[in-house]
Each structure stands twice: as C-alpha cells, then as structure tokens.
C-alpha cells in the first residue's frame, strides 16, 4: 500500500483543473490517475470549436482546450500523472486499488477527488424495441470512430435525440458525405444549445422531427430501417402516425449520466476528504463550467489537507 496526500481519479478537464488548482493552493503530493492512454478525456475527440468561450474568452477546439491544461500539468512536478491506470475499488477508508499494465497498486490517500466524468445513455435505457444489428452507435462512439480513427460508421443516418453531441454529429456526418435522414426528438423542443440547432441542423436542411420517437429498429445483420411515430404529451406513440425511414445507422444521443460506479462503492457514506467534481457530480452544458467547478474542488481539497 503506497500513501499519497491527494489522489485524483480522472484526467479529463475536471481532473486536470482540480489537480492544477490543488497545486496552486498548496498541495505538494498529487497523483492523477487516468484510465486512457492520454490526458484530456472526451475533449480529444471533440475537434469542433466552441470550447473556452467563457473560461478563456476564446474560441477553441476540444483538443486545444485540453492541451492548455496538459501543458500546465507537465510543468508541475508535484503532480504525478499515471496513465492507463484503471481504478477498480474505492473504500470509505480512502483506499484505492488500480490496475495498470504490469501492476496492481493499492494507495491510501488523505484526500480524493473523483472526476470520472459521465457517459451517454444507451438505447437500452430508453428501451427502443426491435432488433439488435450492427449500425447502432452512441453519438460519442460515432464521434470517436470518425474523429480519432478515421472510420465512417454509416452512410444513411437517423439520430435519436437532439442532445448536443447528436446535433454536432449530424453536421459531422454531412461533412463526411453521409446523408442524415432525420433527427428525432421525443420532446417538444431540442435539448441541445440553440447555436447547435442552427449551425448543425438548420444550415444543412436536416429533417428535424420534434415530438416524435423511434418505435422499432429493423435489420438482421445491419440496420435497415426504423419506424417513427408522433407522440402525445405522455410520450406515447399516437396510433396511425407511424412511418418508416430507411437507414443503415442509428445514432443514440439521449442524454448523459454521471459515471459514479466507484463512488457508489462507498454506499453513500459520508467520507471526510472525499470530493466529487465536474460531470461526475452533475452533467454540465459546457466544459467551462466543469473547469470552474473543478477548480473549486481542487481548492477545497487543498484546504482540507492543510487542516489535517
């Protein structure tokens, strides 16, 4: 069992901001654990602009926004970054267990900041009926395939939900020459930012169905079509309103939920010195708010350590 003052779980914008802030407020022994092979979290695949408007008063892409923090962390010897480090356990005694290629490590921390971000809701969580062929993606996975791997998930796309990632992906698919057959939103209004609706949907004349839902996905090997219905105020399909859209891909963008499985291991116990920040605390609209929230978490953790 190794001992550290402050362990931060998650090297996305939240964890990075918390680490820098804790350092600036006097913490000298910080371990930052990130399961991926690079820092930056989800920002790395967000190559579109629109980041940093509030915090830097500049228009940046996701990777640009992330790199400002990554560069800073490089210069702070008090922050040790451990990549490919996957935390599997958290106890109320502030002990963490993590795996890394080559070793399993247990660490006892005086303080811990959980900055594990969020994940997308799945098709299963909104239980869309039908088949389970290839061609159904979360919007985030599609984004990763296109922006990081250079792979095109599909050519005729229907997007379920009008969350920001879904909207941005609609435009991304169009720019790659794919056809976006529809964006389907169960609510009466879009859930995304107004600027994204304008720039990603309206500018490209993409059919946008509000108060509609997909009732069934078809296709044995690959998605072939979806059935869509208008819904009433209780989100039930209105009989007789159903129509089909042929497509080879369904993108699910129905919201984000905090990723808190590790935190749940403490079963809601109140653990002094255990903090949560960023999207794992609550899902924010923009990364600038995540940064602000996490700077505060870093400061509070540093104060806590001083008080010990």
């Amino acid at each position: 069992m190794i001992k550290r003052d402050l362990v931060i779980v998650g090297g996305g914008p939240a964890g990075m901001a918390a680490a820098i802030s804790a350092h600036e407020n006097g913490s000298k022994d910080i371990l930052l654990l990130e399961r991926d092979q690079y820092l930056g979290g989800i920002l790395n695949q967000c190559i579109h602009t629109g980041f940093g408007l509030e915090y830097f008063k500049e228009v940046l892409t996701g990777p640009e926004y992330a790199s400002r923090f990554i560069e800073k962390i490089k210069d702070i010897p008090n922050i040790e970054v451990s990549l490919k480090s996957f935390v599997v356990k958290l106890t109320t005694g502030k002990e963490l267990t993590f795996l890394k290629p080559g070793c399993l490590t247990q660490v006892r921390a005086k303080a811990i900041i959980m900055a594990t971000g969020c994940r997308e809701k799945t098709r299963e969580m909104v239980h869309i009926a039908g088949f389970r062929p290839a061609g159904i993606f979360s919007a985030g996975l599609a984004q990763k395939l296109i922006n990081i791997e250079g792979l095109l998930p599909g050519k005729e796309v229907v997007i379920v939900g009008s969350g920001d990632i879904g909207l941005i992906m609609a435009r991304r698919f169009r720019l790659e020459g794919a056809s976006v057959k529809a964006v389907i939103e169960i609510k009466k209004t879009s859930r995304g930012l107004i600027r994204n609706v304008a720039q990603c949907i309206e500018d490209f004349d993409i059919p946008f169905y509000l108060s509609h839902k997909i009732t069934k996905i078809y296709g044995k090997d690959r998605v072939e079509k979806v059935s869509v219905s208008r819904v009433d105020d209780a989100f039930n399909a209105i009989l007789g309103s159903e129509f089909d859209i042929a497509c080879d891909t369904v993108l699910i963008s129905v919201g984000l939920i905090p990723e808190n499985e590790l935190l749940e291991m403490t079963r809601g116990a109140s653990v002094p010195g255990l903090f949560v920040c960023g999207n794992s605390l609550k899902v924010y609209d923009v990364v600038d708010s995540v940064t602000k929230d996490s700077i505060e978490a870093g400061r509070v953790a540093a104060e806590y350590l001083k008080g010990l």
Partner: protein, 494 residues
C-alpha cells in the same frame, strides 16, 4: 437440384475427386451439436460440425435463460423431462471438466395464493416421479429468511436445490474448443443447402463445398425442419416461440438468492427472476408464438409484461435497472423433443424441437444420439488419447485482487483494461480471439467486453483494433457477427 447447388457440386467434384468421407457430420453448432460432437470425439471417428453462422453458439444457444433446470416443470412421461434430469447431473461433470462455472443456486416455484400453493404438491409429485432430488415445500417464514426481497404476498414455494446457472455460450465455446482439440472439424460460415444420398453415403452440399458422410445428424435448431426436409423427411414443423429477456445492472446482483419461478402455464414456465453466471440478474422470458424463425425483435409489450410480472415477484425491481435486452426463439415442434433415427433415410438422425430445457438436456441428448448411432451399426472404439479437460479461461471480474495481481505480474496486459464496465483486459480479449472468436459478438460472449452498462460506447474502437490486428485484417472488415454486419461503412474523407 438448384443451379446454385449444381454449380457448387461441379466445383467440388472438379477440385477433389477423393473428398474425405466422414463417419458423422453434425449440422448445427449450438449446445446440442457441440455436445454430440464432444461426446463422439472420445471414439475413433471422423467427425465434423457444419455451422452456417460465423461462430458456434450464434443460434438459440446464445439467447436463453442459462438455467440448468432440475426437471420440475415437465410431465413425468416426457422425453424432455427424463433427459433434463439426466442432463442436470451430466452438465455439472462436463462443466467441471471444461472449466466452465456452474453456480448451484437452487430454484423456488413461488405460490401467491392458497390455490397456487395447492398446485405445488402436484408439481412436486410429478418431479419426484422424474427423479428430481431434494425437493421440499417451504412456507412464509422460510422465504422471509432465505429470500428477503421476495414480495410479502408470496405464501409458499417449492424448493428445488439442483437448479443451477451457467453461461450458455461459454458452455458451447468450451464444448467446441474441446471437440476441436479432439480432432472434430468445425466448419463455420458453412450453410447446408442440400442433402442427397445417391448410394449409402450422404452428400451434403454447403456454401463452402460438398461434404460426404456415413451418418448425418440434424441439430439445426430453428432450421431443423428445413434440414429434415432436405433429407426427405417432412413430418414436423418448427414453430418458433419467442422469449424476450431483460438484463439488469450488476449492481443488483444480490436481488435474489435463488432462481424464482411463478407457477407454470401450459406453454411456458412463466416470467422468472433469474440469476446469471455473470452476475447480472435477468427477468423474463415471455412466450409468444411467431412464424418467423429470424424474428428476434423485442417489443414494448414484452417489456411491460416482463417488468410487471417480475415486480410481482420482487417489488424493488425498477425500469432503471435494465441495461440490456434480447429475444430468443425456442425451436418448438409439438410438446416434446424429437430425437430419432429416420428409418426411411438410413443413417439420418433428427434432433429437433429442442426447446427448453434443451440447454440442460444437451449432454443427455448427446448420449442418446451416441446410443442410436451404435444401434445403427456405427463402430465405437475408444481413442487411446482423449483430451477430456480444457484450460479454464480467465475472467478478471471473477477473481480476487491478489490473483489479479499475480496474473498482471505474469503478463502485463492483464492490467490493460479495455472494457471499463465489466473490467475486461486486453489479454482476455486476445485470448478469446486465439480461442476462436472472430467477431465483436464472439468476443462479447466470451469475455463480456461491451456487455455492460455503456454497451461498448467506450471500448468498441479498442476491441476492433485488437481484433483487426490479431486477425491481420482491416478495421473496416471487422464485423459484429459475420459478413453483412460490418461495424463501419468505410473510411472518412480526410
């Protein structure tokens, strides 16, 4: 003969005039086909399995409840009842030999009224006739202690201690790996199109060419009626009965201590609360007849029905617990299994209508089929060397940290976690591929990577890369479950 078959035949004949003649060919690489193959591989026989899908276990055997039934819900005179009780014992032994986990959970058939409680006695009596051991009827106070989450409306239950759970696809993979180790040829992507028997030898025409065999076994699950027709026997029809099942988050692992059954109806065992080998509880299945043997779609009605019935059993189950769902089709042909030699086509054995409890009964079916082959004159000589055991595959999620730590020291890539929800390492994914997985689903079934709450949102690209690298193919050629199910449609412009 169709022109397609003719062409194939010509190609085959042109290529090889001395095709090997197998002793036994089994059509279908599900639990039944692989159980038969593994059993026969003890003997000096030349055996092959022909499977139309990209991997074994992609038929009915992948989508079921995974229960090793004790035999309680079958008529005492039925073949399926007898084979179930026998299979329950045999499965334990085979699971041990092949390194597949079988958890002995026991089951409760739960009564919610005096009338239902009365029916438990009759079920027990039938089960005793079949030879199901250890049965007892338990009352409210027992249930309160041993099944605390069960609805307080439950008043009594029939307890069957010999019920267990297993991962159905991992059992099929274990059987097929072990059969292959004992020299059974396993031909995937090999769909049987036509069967002829000009002389005493069967000519089986497939999408991969022609195979010849002395004995031919039809274990084609949902397609068994078509195969039987091809062989000239057209006296049964498979009527698929759909079952929708819903998996809950692993966080609810300790929802129940036993498998929970309601009183059975005429066509099904009812909607159950199931424990699974991987820890995720499952609720289902429904039972709806359909005439399409590829209709594995789930429905809103099924969802509602299952949730309602499961909540009657355990009121704390919530919609938000559900992380995955699927539908399986039971290959029903009448009330019982059809397992027989067809005297009109000497050497042809039908193993059809293997509905529930087919997973449980499979090893007993295999013994029965071996018996039929013997009767029909096939010589059974034991091999000098039969590899009865298989190295258990590693699943980090089932290990203690100290074991995990040792493994990581031996091979660093056990510490390289690919699937965050289910804690699956790069090493496990590679092992799965080396043991035979060639698709994303094959990897999922073997390792659970992509099967957790995020549904592969985070790990799909990494797994695609490992698969492409191990198989030395392009990322664009990676499929979910075989050709036509490519994950992506191409490369981007830039």
């Amino acid at each position: 003969m169709s022109t397609f078959a003719k062409k194939l035949l010509i190609v085959c004949l042109d290529r090889d005039l001395t095709l090997p003649i197998y002793d036994v060919i089994i059509i279908g690489g599900g639990i039944v086909g692989t159980s038969i193959a593994r059993e026969l591989s003890r003997y000096k026989l030349n055996i092959a399995i022909l499977e139309k899908e990209a991997e074994p276990a992609f038929g009915v055997s992948k989508s079921n409840s995974g229960i090793i039934h004790p035999g309680t819900q079958n008529p005492p005179s039925s073949l399926k009842g007898r084979l179930c009780v026998q299979g329950n014992i045999l499965t334990r032994k085979i699971a041990r030999e092949l390194g597949v986990d079988l958890q002995e959970t026991g089951e409760l058939i739960v009564a919610f009224s005096e009338e239902e409680a009365g029916r438990l006695e009759a079920i027990k009596k039938n089960a005793v006739l079949l030879g199901v051991p250890g049965l007892k009827i338990v009352g409210r106070s027992w249930l309160k202690v041993n099944e605390p989450n069960l609805s307080p409306e439950a008043i009594a239950a029939l307890y069957a201690p010999t019920a267990g759970i297993i991962s159905p696809y991992r059992m099929v993979y274990a059987l097929s790996e072990n059969a292959a180790k004992n020299d059974v040829g396993i031909y995937t992507l090999t769909e049987v199109k036509q069967i002829q028997r000009p002389k005493a030898i069967f000519e089986v025409v497939t999408t991969k060419g022609m195979f010849q065999t002395k004995y031919l076994i039809n274990a084609a699950g949902l397609f068994a009626d078509r195969i039987s027709q091809m062989a000239g026997i057209d006296d049964f029809k498979i009527m698929p009965r759909k079952g929708e099942e819903f998996l809950l988050d692993k966080k609810r692992e300790h929802l129940s201590n036993h498998l929970l059954f309601p009183l059975p109806s005429a066509t099904s065992k009812g909607i159950l609360v199931i424990k699974t080998a991987d820890g995720n509880p499952m609720i289902g299945p429904t039972a709806e007849d359909t005439d399409d043997n590829e209709d594995t779609a789930t429905s809103d009605e099924g969802f509602k029905k299952v949730l309602l019935a499961a909540r009657r059993m355990i009121p704390s189950i919530s919609e938000a617990d559900i992380i995955a769902y699927f539908a399986g089709l039971r290959p029903v042909a009448g009330d019982d299994f059809i397992i027989r030699h067809e005297d009109k086509v000497p050497g042809f054995i039908n193993v059809a209508g293997i509905q529930s409890p087919g997973l449980t009964a499979a090893p007993a079916i295999a013994l029965m089929v071996a018996g039929i082959l013997k009767e029909q004159g096939l010589a059974f000589k034991k091999k000098l060397l039969f590899h009865g055991r298989r190295q258990k595959s590693v699943h980090l999620f089932a290990l203690t940290f100290s074991k995990t730590s040792k493994l990581i020291k031996k091979d660093a890539s056990y510490g390289d976690i690919v699937c965050r929800c289910e804690m699956v390492s790069a090493k496990e994914v590679k092992d799965a591929i080396r043991r035979g997985a060639s698709t994303m689903d094959g990897i999922k079934f073997r390792t659970r990577a992509q099967a957790g709450r995020c549904h592969g949102s985070f790990c799909t690209t990494r797994i695609m890369k490992i698969l492409a690298e191990e198989k030395n193919k392009a990322l664009t050629a990676v499929t979910k479950k075989g050709s036509g199910s490519e994950i992506v449609k191409g490369e981007t412009r830039s």
